[in-house]
């Protein structure tokens, strides 16, 4: 189970990065990165997952005393939340960039923004 | 007058302009002066003897007669025996041989060389051409009477005189020198105006100071 989830995550990352590296269109690159980010998030949560356990919420089903044996690792879950939000922020920023880039060049082709080099 | 002798305006390194007059700035303007014998007779005689026994000829062939001077250095005539030597520079020479006809162009050089020699100095005219123009008496560009332009101490006649005649001429010149009669340089200085007038009469493109130190 865990391995499958993780594999999925890794494949998504690879697909995302490949997409970002080969697509010249900036918007497509951004989308590709969100795919990769999703992959990363899947990997993140899958690391904390443990077979047969439940969510880390101490309610009636999981008394505090047994919690250590009943719940899955809560830390990756906390991390993934942060990672998602940060990914979102960066994506938004990239979109803003895309907007401005299009604004000043009239194109979204990444290879057209090469006047700074060497 | 040649361009290089005309006064010109020059700008110095500090940017100030000033006039340069080559004839005045580059050449000494003094006139020649008379240098009579100053020592007592016996000393002067001794010096005259030394002068006569040490004749240094300026190696300057002015005309065809120069050919006749070369043999003097050969074993056959060997003028060195008589204290005669050739010097390459007028400063060190005291005998100017005018070897044959003298064109007005060469006259200018001869005058310059003569003036650059230090006195006492002697002029020997070689051949008829220097006496009266010789066969070139009616030439448009040779001078006829050398004596009008330079103070000649001795003429050696012939057209051309043979080396033997030249050797004899040297002996005669020595006699004149020893007798204290070879005062051509002083004569030139005394009659400087006259000589210059004569020289300038034939040299139309006069482009040098009046006296070449």
């Amino acid at each position: 189970m865990v391995h499958i989830a993780m594999l999925t995550g890794f494949v998504l990352i690879a697909i995302g990065i490949y997409g970002a590296l080969t697509n010249r269109n900036i918007l497509r690159m951004i989308v590709a990165f969100t795919v990769a980010n999703t992959g990363v998030n899947i990997v993140l949560v899958s690391v904390g997952y443990m077979m047969g356990r439940t969510a880390p919420i101490l309610d009636a089903a999981v008394p505090v005393a047994e919690a250590a044996n009943r719940i899955i690792d809560p830390v990756p879950q906390a991390l993934v939340l942060t990672a998602i939000v940060i990914g979102l922020g960066v994506t938004a920023l990239m979109l803003a960039y895309a907007y401005r880039l299009y604004d000043c060049r009239g194109s979204l082709d990444i290879s057209r923004f090469r006047d700074l080099k060497w | 007058m040649k361009d290089e002798l005309k006064p010109r305006i020059v700008k110095g390194p500090d940017g100030i302009e000033f006039e340069v007059d080559p004839l005045r700035d580059y050449y000494c303007e003094a006139s020649p002066s008379v240098h009579p014998p100053v020592y007592v007779k016996i000393v002067e005689d001794f010096f005259n003897w030394a002068r006569s026994e040490s004749l240094w000829i300026l190696g300057f062939g002015t005309g065809c007669g120069a050919i006749e001077m070369r043999p003097l250095m050969t074993p056959r005539f060997d003028a060195y025996r008589f204290g005669v030597q050739w010097r390459p520079t007028p400063r060190q020479a005291n005998l100017l041989m005018i070897s044959g006809y003298l064109s007005t162009k060469t006259l200018k050089r001869a005058i310059r060389s003569y003036e650059q020699m230090q006195s006492p100095k002697y002029v020997v005219g070689l051949g008829s051409c220097t006496i009266n123009g010789g066969m070139y008496w009616d030439s448009y560009n040779t001078i006829k009477k050398l004596d009008e332009y330079l103070p000649v101490d001795l003429y050696i006649v012939g057209c051309m005189p043979r080396p033997e005649a030249l050797l004899q001429g040297f002996e005669d010149l020595k006699q004149i020198i020893r007798a204290g009669k070879a005062e051509g340089a002083n004569q030139y200085a005394e009659k400087f105006e006259w000589y210059k007038a004569n020289q300038k009469k034939v040299i139309h493109d006069w482009d040098m100071p009046d006296y070449n130190w």
């Binding site: - | 040490s54 060195y80 025996r81 204290g83 030597q85 400063r91 005291n94 006195s119």
Partner: protein, 301 residues
């Protein structure tokens, strides 16, 4: 070292002898050269007359103060060189002022006159003078090299820089002379000797018609007289050094006269036989032939 005033008249005596002999020798050598050309050549006393004649000139010109200094430097160089080296070995009278310095002093004093002369000639503003100096200095740098090495070899050989000591070491037998104990060094030095005598094949410096005798082209009268005097003294002073270093020195005047004459004759002989080198040719000649021999001489020690 205590100085005795009597040294001055003694030195002047040496100087006088050398001067008179030098003038004579110059004429004799010239005469020998003339004989080689089947001429009689100048009379042997000609140089004396020329000297008097030059003093007897009535007019002179000057190009400036350095123009005076040129001949003065020149002759000071010659006289100084002579007086800084003992002329006659073992005779206190003719040791001159050699107490002032050793061989090195003599070696470097050679340049004193050349430098001064070059300066005086330069003051005349004459391009020929400058050309002559250019050639002369170029040539002498190469010509001096074998000599310097040979001198070094000799100094090493005798382990001293004192001329007197070097002569002393060669006494006793002819075979003690350096020319036999270190023939290679002497050969090299003699090559240099040719170069420094201003005779063919090394006299392009003075090319009489091309650059009318080079540096002294403007000199005349007493200036020239001083230089003539130097012409008499300086070669002999130089030959004194050679004689002392390589040929056992001279213990009395006759030997001195003979050895100097022979040395002079050697230069004259070569000069009569060989045509003139261009400057770069002579430079190469000294480097290609002189230096290796000198180095061999150095290793001989």
């Amino acid at each position: 070292m205590d100085f005795e005033w009597i040294r001055i008249p003694h030195a002047l005596l040496t100087l006088l002898i050398v001067f008179l002999y030098g003038l004579l020798l110059g004429a004799v050598i010239q005469k020998i050269g003339a004989r080689a050309g089947r001429r009689h050549g100048i009379p042997f006393y000609q140089n004396y007359i020329d000297l008097i004649k030059n003093y007897a000139l009535r007019t002179t010109i000057t190009h400036g103060f350095m123009f005076y200094l040129g001949p003065v430097f020149r002759l000071t160089g010659g006289v100084g060189l002579l007086l800084f080296v003992p002329t006659i070995y073992g005779v206190a009278m003719h040791e001159n002022f050699s107490f002032a310095g050793d061989l090195i002093l003599a070696l470097y004093f050679v340049f004193f006159g050349s430098l001064g002369m070059a300066l005086g000639a330069g003051e005349s503003g004459h391009p020929y003078a400058a050309i002559g100096v250019s050639r002369g200095l170029s040539q002498v740098t190469a010509a001096e090299l074998p000599f310097a090495i040979a001198v070094f070899a000799v100094a090493l050989q005798y382990q001293t820089l004192s001329v007197t000591d070097i002569v002393a070491a060669q006494q006793g037998s002819v075979f003690n002379w350096t020319v036999f104990t270190n023939p290679l060094a002497v050969t090299a030095a003699m090559m240099s000797f040719l170069g420094s005598m201003m005779r063919p094949p090394f006299d392009v410096v003075l090319a009489p018609q091309e650059i009318p005798i080079g540096p002294p082209t403007e000199y005349h009268s007493a200036y020239l007289a001083l230089m003539q005097s130097n012409r008499a003294i300086f070669p002999i002073a130089k030959m004194v050094i050679y004689m002392n270093l390589f040929f056992g020195g001279a213990a009395n005047w006759p030997v001195f006269f003979l050895k100097v004459f022979l040395l002079y004759l050697f230069a004259a002989f070569v000069g009569v036989v060989f045509p003139r080198f261009r400057v770069e040719q002579s430079v190469r000649w000294f480097l290609v032939w002189g230096v290796p021999v000198a180095v061999a001489g150095l290793f001989w020690v």
